[in-house]
């Protein structure tokens, strides 16, 4: 923009927002820790950052945390990936064939509008508390973002671009590789970002209900045992995973689809 070379700018002004955010997080934890200098500390009701950190370390060292995470990851991977495959396929067909879209749209809206979590007890009773029950809950919860976004992506394919590629002598293969896939893919990835959150809900619902292992079970059990430091450690762990997954996908979107400015 500027004609002149931009003069050197201080680190602080360039990373102002990041620094402010880090500062706020630091203040938050410091205040949390400090408040018990003035308020009596009741470990059966609340925990504090130092204790949570200790609990996190001990859970990591003993391997319990990783074990629970691994247990929970299995149905998540199964449910999420099958939701992706089925949802994208269904969404593309619904987008491509208008009549299939007309027919299935209201049904999908109906399912999407109803709190499907409410079917969890039924699924658990029917399929049991093992991997299969959780997988189905996760599948049910995370499929809809894939369906709707794949459908929206197909609708968003620019007919003009198809004609452009055709007029330049492009083959059907070119059409798919150069126009359709690049148009639809960003929608699907955005759908995946939404689906991650819903899939995690599925994990927790399944494990809160009835389970003997897994991270959701661990949180519920530590709550029952009033082991709040360990409970907070597990909650923190889930928060980190959730942020890493959604922000990771968001970052991947920005790297992979830099042309989608401001979407």
């Amino acid at each position: 923009m500027s004609d002149q070379a931009a003069p050197h700018q201080g680190f602080a002004s360039r990373y102002r927002n990041v620094l402010l955010g880090l500062l706020a997080v630091a203040i938050f934890f410091a205040a949390w820790q400090a408040v018990f200098l003035f308020v009596p500390f009741n470990p059966l009701f609340i925990s504090k950052p130092t204790l949570i950190l200790q609990a996190l370390v001990s859970l990591l060292v003993s391997g319990d945390l990783l074990h629970d995470l691994a247990i929970s990851a299995v149905p998540f991977v199964y449910g999420f990936s099958s939701a992706a495959v089925v949802g994208v396929a269904l969404g593309i067909v619904m987008g491509w064939r208008p009549r299939v879209g007309y027919t299935l749209d209201p049904i999908m809206i109906m399912f999407y509008a109803s709190p499907l979590v409410a079917l969890a007890p039924l699924v658990i009773v029917f399929f049991g508390v093992g991997v299969s029950g959780k997988t189905i809950i996760i599948f049910l919860l995370s499929i809809f973002p894939f369906i709707f976004n794949a459908q929206a992506g197909v609708h968003a394919v620019d007919r003009l671009l198809i004609n452009v590629v055709r007029s330049l002598g492009g083959s059907e293969r070119d059409l798919y590789l150069k126009v359709i896939v690049p148009s639809v893919l960003p929608y699907i990835v955005a759908g995946a970002r939404i689906a991650v959150g819903r899939g995690l809900i599925g994990v927790l619902v399944g494990e809160f209900f009835a389970a003997s292992e897994g991270i959701g079970y661990a949180i519920a059990r530590f709550g029952d045992l009033f082991a709040l430091d360990k409970m907070f450690a597990c909650i923190l762990c889930i928060m980190i995973i959730a942020v890493a997954l959604t922000e990771g996908i968001r970052l991947a979107e920005r790297v992979a689809f830099p042309w989608r400015v401001g979407q």
Partner: protein, 283 residues
């Protein structure tokens, strides 16, 4: 991170199909196919046990639309629905109301103050990405099994869509329009009244719509795991006793609650946004 926080809309919301609206058949085509789809689904579901012999175990978990309708009718006719429904509805209304009361001003505040926004951004990002369900055991520990635990669960679910959408709407206020009213001597209050708030309105309504879905989810989940009464409690008990029709009846009532609220918001939106170009295709 601050610059690119994605706006929460129902991005996954189904799209209106872009068919040329020409002639009666074309206009009715989507309705006919849509209604047909639902009718076929219900008919097959209803006919299935008559055509296929289900094993005794599967039969226990099977119900038909007619049974569900019958159960639903009985629940209303005998009035057995009203107590659990009112318990669930009050948790829903209180939680959603609190989320609006807290989310709107906070959203305006971080929309107008870049510093505050930068400081709160890590918290908002973290809480928004995390399924709020993870806090449920903690909330139950703190608030017990009564109404307030439920209200809090609904509140933290509904807060973020409202907060984030308000923030986006405030932040996206057109700089030119702000300059326009300033050039006529407007003060900060005039700018907010004439530009920022009207501009944010559609965002807020979209956030509200999303928040309704989250609030219903919150009620269901809270009642599944930590309540003594309510529609969700009724459903868990029904599932345990293999009253599958009752589970589905509860699901339909929840869906109905969600749809009625969404329709109310839609009416509100249409009244507030007369000035906007009609969306292509119509509703």
């Amino acid at each position: 991170m601050t610059e690119t926080r994605a706006i929460e809309t129902d991005i996954g919301g189904p799209l209106e199909s872009a068919a040329p609206a020409d002639g009666l058949w074309h206009r009715l085509e989507s309705t006919i196919f849509g209604a047909g789809g639902i009718v076929v689904l219900l008919a097959v579901w209803e006919a299935l046990p008559r055509i296929v012999t289900l094993s005794a175990g599967t039969k226990l978990f099977f119900t038909t639309p007619s049974q569900i309708a019958e159960t639903l009718w009985q629940m209303f006719a005998t009035g057995s629905i009203w107590v659990p429904l009112s318990v669930s509805a009050s948790g829903f209304a209180l939680g959603l109301g609190l989320a609006v009361v807290a989310g709107l001003p906070l959203g305006v505040l971080i929309g107008r103050s870049p510093t505050l926004n930068a400081m709160l951004d890590p918290f908002i990002t973290a809480f928004n990405a995390t399924p709020r369900l993870v806090f449920l055991p903690l909330i139950m520990l703190w608030f017990g099994l009564g109404l307030w635990a439920k209200v809090i669960v609904v509140f933290i679910g509904a807060l973020f869509p409202i907060l984030i959408n308000t923030y986006e709407g405030v932040r996206n206020a057109d700089k030119t329009l702000i300059n326009v009213v300033r050039s006529f001597g407007a003060n900060e209050w005039d700018v907010a009244r004439l530009v920022v708030v009207p501009n944010a309105m559609p965002y807020i309504v979209a956030g509200l719509r999303l928040a309704i879905g989250r609030a219903v989810l919150g009620v269901v989940v809270a009642e599944f795991f930590g309540s003594e009464s309510g529609l969700g409690v009724m459903m868990v008990q029904a599932a345990g006793q293999y009253h599958v029709d009752k589970v589905f009846a509860g699901l339909i009532v929840f869906a109905g609650l969600s749809l009625i609220m969404t329709a109310a918001v839609q009416v509100l939106e249409n009244r507030l946004t007369l000035w906007r170009p009609q969306r292509a295709g119509g509703e």
